[in-house]
């Protein structure tokens, strides 16, 4: 166990003048201002202390001191501590050392700020465009404040993403942007030798809609939870909770205990139905539709309950800054207990059927293997990491909401393959049921909303992580003026996990591709949408049904 003081001492002894300032508003959050020249060394030191890289946050600070900011965030899981290394580079020459050679998972974050802020990273192994569309003009960096939120540069012809070079003797098989395996648009160019996969390049971010830029310029603090919820169609409450917690941390708002319990219950309801959904999809991906139908049938009862509780099957709109919007009445409490009982019973049947099915074993055991060390190096999260023997779970390591008051196990397996992810997810579903039951029992009475004053001091930093069904979600918030964030960065769990997929695919069969990609429970839209303006952005936000129809008709007529 390292305390915050020990981390501070270690850093200041080793790096002395490179450490400019420490800030720790809470016992579990450490913000360090560092010299930009030593970013790479200090990051490595944090990793040596047991830090796990989360995400980087870039922001525009030009108006204040003509710099661009970059924050690398790390989680020290054993010590319940988040360490954020803040550095600044002059805006006219925004060059920094890349940390990607040591921490491969930072690759995307850094590419993101090449695209969006015009930063440059020396030593980056793959400085290609990541987020912006291929026809976005060079030199417009949409996350800079001078760029308006609704800018739509004219589309360009004849531009295309250049794929990585195909290994000799291999053929490129495109998977996506539209493919039965992928339920959202993303493009994997798979290099195959016969049916053996020898590599893969990824071009995603096709539904990037600039949510962050929108929220930094157009709306106010307590409108964002509803937008945050729409980041993910499955784990919406996770994003709303994580965002709300970050605002609460930044403003020092303490919400009522009952609200925290209801948040916990909502998060676990989402985990139950998300894991059931995944189980069905996984069955479908290996050509076993009966699993798909049964898992989704079982899932249906909790969807009905959610509708009763919140008014919606999904996108509940329950969680806002300061608490939750609806209470769990005694009748609903009883009903939920009944629903859980049915699900537990039916899931047990499905579990026994799956565990005993040798045909499923043959399709999932020894498939999509990466070692524990590789998974650690690539900072994988969630069930994908837990299936590789990495014992992390934000609910236990950095407790939030009411997780400090419930008991649960974190299933960890070390067979490192797709099978382990199946087992981990099934076991987690049982744990979730356990958590909901405890939460229902222990939930105290009290108000569900705490008044939120809405005038937070600007430029406070806050980081909040929530364990989504797919892994941890990280929200980083810098408070701003005019009652809205200066910077809000969302990292969905698929963001790190997707970067590990090429490694999992290597030397496996093409037929295993669906289940390997499926095993991370990919949520491409969450991953994509996190950042900002895209050609589609203005359209996506403002289009009404009628407008869409008009455009379609105009196109149809033009075609004739």
């Amino acid at each position: 166990m390292l305390t915050i003081e020990e981390v501070k001492n270690k850093l200041s002894n080793r790096f002395k003048s490179a450490i400019i300032h420490f800030d720790h508003p809470l016992r579990s959050r450490l913000f360090v201002d560092i010299d930009k020249a030593r970013v790479r060394e200090i990051s490595n030191e944090i990793v040596r202390m047991g830090g796990r890289y989360l995400v980087s946050i870039g922001y525009d600070n030009i108006a204040r001191d003509k710099t661009l900011g970059l924050i690398h965030t790390f989680s020290l899981d054993r010590d319940d501590l988040f360490v954020c290394l803040r550095s600044a580079v002059p805006a006219e020459d925004p060059v920094l050392d890349s940390i990607t050679p040591d921490i491969p998972n930072a690759g995307w974050s850094e590419r993101e700020y090449m695209d969006l802020l015009g930063m440059k990273f020396t030593g980056h192994p793959k400085p290609k465009r990541l987020i912006l569309s291929d026809d976005w003009p060079e030199g417009i960096y949409p996350l800079r404040k001078e760029v308006p939120w609704n800018l739509m540069p004219p589309p360009a012809e004849n531009v295309a993403y250049q794929l990585d070079e195909c290994p000799e003797g291999c053929t490129v098989v495109p998977v996506g942007p539209f493919h039965p395996t992928l339920h959202e648009p993303a493009h994997f160019a798979v290099f195959v030798d016969g049916e053996t996969i020898k590599g893969c390049d990824y071009r995603g971010f096709m539904v990037h809609r600039g949510i962050e830029k929108l929220c930094q310029t157009q709306v106010t603090y307590n409108e964002i939870p509803f937008i945050a919820e729409r980041i993910c169609g499955i784990c919406g409450s996770v994003h709303a909770t994580s965002y709300s917690q970050s605002v609460e941390l930044a403003s020092g708002l303490k919400i009522s205990r009952r609200a925290e319990f209801i948040r916990t219950i909502m998060l676990e309801i989402e985990r139950v139905h998300s894991h059931l959904l995944w189980l069905g999809v996984a069955g479908h991906l290996i050509g076993f539709d009966t699993v798909f139908m049964q898992a989704w049938r079982v899932r249906e009862s909790i969807m009905w309950f959610s509708e009763k509780l919140t008014g919606n099957r999904k996108t509940y709109g329950m969680i806002v800054v300061g608490g939750v919007r609806r209470d769990i009445t005694p009748e609903l409490k009883d009903e939920l207990a009944g629903v859980l009982k049915t699900i537990e019973k039916e899931l047990m049947t499905i579990k026994n059927a799956i565990i005993g099915d040798t045909a499923i074993h043959r399709r999932t055991k020894g498939v999509g293997c990466i070692t524990n060390e590789e998974a650690r190096l690539w900072s994988l999260v969630g069930p994908v990491a837990r299936a590789r023997g990495i014992d992390i779970d934000v609910r236990r390591d950095h407790p939030y909401a009411a997780y400090d008051e419930v008991q649960f196990d974190v299933p960890v397996l070390d067979s490192c393959d797709v099978w382990a992810t199946v087992v981990v997810r099934i076991l987690e579903t049982f744990e979730s049921i356990k958590i909901i039951r405890q939460a229902l029992d222990k939930m105290p009475d009290g108000p569900i909303m705490t008044e939120f004053a809405e005038d937070i001091q600007p430029l406070r930093h806050a980081i909040s992580a929530v364990e989504a069904p797919r892994g941890e979600v990280v929200h980083y918030l810098i408070t701003g003026e005019e009652n809205r964030p200066e910077r809000w960065r969302v990292r969905a769990p698929t963001y790190p996990n997707l970067q590990g997929v090429p490694l999992m695919l290597l030397n496996d069969q093409f037929a295993d591709l669906p289940i390997i990609i499926g095993s991370i429970d990919p949520c491409f839209s969450c991953t994509d949408r996190v950042v900002k303006v895209d050609v589609g952005s203005g359209k996506a936000i403002r289009l009404t049904g009628r407008e869409l129809e008009q455009i379609s008709r105009a196109k149809l007529n033009a075609g004739r």
Partner: protein, 317 residues
Amino acid sequence: MTVMGLVVIAGVLAAVISCAAFLVWFERRLLAFFQERYGPNRVGPFGVFQVVADIIKLFFKEDWVPPFSDRAVFVIAPVFVVASVLMSFAVISFAPGICAADLDVGLLFFLAMSSLGVYSIVLGGWASNNKYSLLGALRGAAQMITYEVFMGISLMGVVIMADSFNLKKIVEAQEHLWFCVPQFLGFAIFFIAGVAEARRIPFDLPEAESELVAGYHSEFSSMKFGMFFLGEYLGVTLISSLIVVFFFGGWLGPAFLPPIAWFLIKTFFFIIVFILMRGSLPRPRYDQLMGYGWKVLLPLALLNLFVTGAVVLVWQN
């Protein structure tokens, strides 16, 4: 050819095709039953006219030939699949006297026709000029050639025992004991090979929708797709009726039902087994399937042939 002969041919053709059409509905309802949902139940009583609606829809879909395809081959490929399966039905004895062509080499004729069926897959996949289709076609070729080898061998035990390649004589030879008892291994192997031959789950690798979109027939639309679709269900019917002929005594059964009824009941039983398999097994991987074929089923089929041959030889002496 007699008038009676023509009537039989027309009757078999009509019966077989309507059976395949019926199967489309039947399978969807039955799968839905296994998976605790409803299945098509809106068009007509119990949704039986769903098939009619589907066929009308298929007819009116745009019949698209991709500009990058090899046009002639693309058009001819779907014909092969239906034609080859329908030809196989010619040699089946449904009941005494109901047989389109009572060939003495009936069994060999069936094997020859099922080999022809591979062409539709390879040609369809190749002519589509699409990577998914090509992968599907190559898988299809490898899978069907592999499984044909021991499909043939697994039937040789039956031929030795019946002393004939004629399907009618094979049925008659089962008067006292159905071949599924002495030839149980042969039956099991033929059944597995038959599923592979009909390209059904769990052996639908040439199609493998989750990775290959629709495999060899990704590019086909309208009735060209309809042909592949029909071919699949005809294949299921064919393999089921052949299992009945070779191993379950064909039309033989207690006299309170006419022979043709016995034949139909038995065939439908196996069709249901086919559907049940689809509902209860995932798709194995391509390399696992090939390994299973060459390393397990082929040696077993050979063993079955040698043991049967030896036993029959000893018996006759």
